[in-house]
């Protein structure tokens, strides 16, 4: 069924189709519409989830942890300061290998206070052990929520997933969305069967101390689960294509007109859509350009990026975040991916679209123009 809906509604519908048993929720702009829609569904009897009103995001993620530990599917959503407040517990959820799925409506961090879009919030949670998938459209947001549970709950992964969508720029945008049928989603996403759960009949201890003689082994196991996710994300994307006839590149990255391209822009989220338009325009002028959209920031698909860039002379990485004192986070990742390669493209970075500043076609044209001349992180103000 095709409908014109807000991307936040698309996320909520995706969640509804996955039937989480528990949804702890705390509102924060620009995420609020997601939990509002879910509250509506529960109120209208369309969704049987238990909604928990909590007093902060720290509590929301803690409640999600507890719920998931009892062996049931759980969802929550947040943004910006809310995600920052969750920081401590994000590590705990990942370390306890609890496959919570959370939507993040990407927003800038204070100060100065700013409610608008950039990706600093989720980028700053890079090392928490959460899989991070960045989406570009309302359709991709809905589809990725469904895939996120499939990835997270896979026994080779068992890690939480953040589905990141640009605040306002996507979260509040209305687009036509094909809403999958419940019976097809049920076929794609089997009932959650937890490896361990809190059960008084068969008690287990969760979250114990890890002494120096085991802590590193647990961290290594979690890292390996994250690496396993590379294949599992690809599989989820392929299976999704078989069931719903839609896919997003290979699930990890998506390219546009890259095969004969000499220069490419690499970025994440809604800026990819703008880049596609610029690519088409520059192609009409005979310029061999393309787009590399990074969907999976964690795990970072190094190998996939290297393979698609064999004939690329230069890459402009556009970051909607900044690691103050160094450069954009995606730029660092790109340079690191190619460091040990014999053949490597010129890689330069651009900081754009912070705190709700639009990333315009002109910004992207500037990035293409300056691929070979720019000096590391240039600001597209």
């Amino acid at each position: 069924m095709k409908k014109v809906i807000e991307a936040s509604t698309a996320v909520a519908l995706g969640v509804k189709l996955c039937n989480p048993a528990v949804i702890p929720m705390y509102p924060i702009t620009p995420q609020t519409h997601i939990v509002e829609r879910l509250a509506d569904y529960i109120n209208d009897g369309l969704l049987k989830s238990e909604m928990i009103h909590v007093e902060s995001e720290h509590s929301a993620i803690s409640a999600a942890l507890g719920s998931e530990a009892t062996g049931v599917r759980t969802f929550t959503a947040t943004a910006s300061q809310g995600l920052a407040l969750m920081h401590e517990i994000l590590f705990v959820v990942a370390g306890m290998r609890l496959p919570v799925v959370m939507a993040v409506a990407n927003r800038a961090l204070s100060a100065p206070i700013n409610i608008w879009n950039d990706q600093q919030d989720s980028i700053s949670e890079r090392d928490t052990g959460w899989i991070q998938l960045y989406v570009e459209s309302a359709q991709e947001a809905l589809d990725t929520i469904i895939q996120a549970y499939k990835i997270a709950e896979n026994r080779k992964v068992l890690l939480p997933v953040m589905v990141c969508l640009d605040g306002f720029t996507l979260s509040h945008v209305y687009e036509p969305v094909d809403i999958p049928e419940k019976k097809d989603v049920d076929k794609f996403l089997p009932k959650y069967n937890p490896l361990f759960k809190l059960n008084p009949e068969k008690p287990v201890t969760m979250g114990p101390i890890g002494f120096p003689n085991t802590y590193m082994e647990f961290r290594k196991a979690t890292h390996e689960a994250m690496l396993n996710a590379i294949d599992i994300i690809k599989n989820a994307n392929n299976d999704f294509k078989k069931s719903f006839n839609r896919s997003y590149g290979n699930g990890l990255i998506e390219t546009y007109k890259i095969n004969d391209a000499e220069y490419a822009v690499a970025t994440m989220g809604t800026a990819c859509s703008t880049t596609r338009i610029v690519v088409d325009e520059l192609r009409k002028q005979g310029k061999k350009v393309g787009l590399i959209k990074i969907k999976s920031f964690r795990p970072f698909p190094k190998q996939e990026i290297i393979s698609c860039c064999q004939n690329i002379k230069g890459i402009a990485v556009i970051d909607r975040n900044i690691s103050l004192g160094n450069e954009g986070a995606l730029l660092t990742e790109f340079k690191s991916a190619f460091y040990n390669q014999n053949k490597k493209p010129i890689i330069n970075g651009f900081i754009a679209g912070l705190g709700g500043r639009d990333i315009t076609p002109d910004h992207i044209k500037t990035a293409f123009k300056k691929i070979e001349t720019s000096n590391n992180s240039e600001w597209l103000l």
Binding site: G95, M96, R97, L195, F196, T205, M206, G207, F211, F218
Partner: protein, 90 residues
Amino acid sequence: MTKPKISVGAVIEEPGSTIKNKTGGWRSFRPVIDQKKCIKCGTCWKFCPDNAIKKNKKGEFEINYDYCKGCGICAKECPVKAIKMVKEEK
């Protein structure tokens, strides 16, 4: 320390396993009960955060030094000051 089995997410499937980790070695002061002063009120038993105080058959409170970490709460709470914290020496 022996290397325990690495489970997914550090889940311990066998209940009551904390008993295997004797934590008395963490102690730098040991609580010593003066049974003559003790009025057997059970305050120390109630407050011990490690469940390391037990009542024996004679009705006396005893400290299990395998698990007592020497936090001193029992000594602080004892209403008749019957518990002294004595420095551990090798």
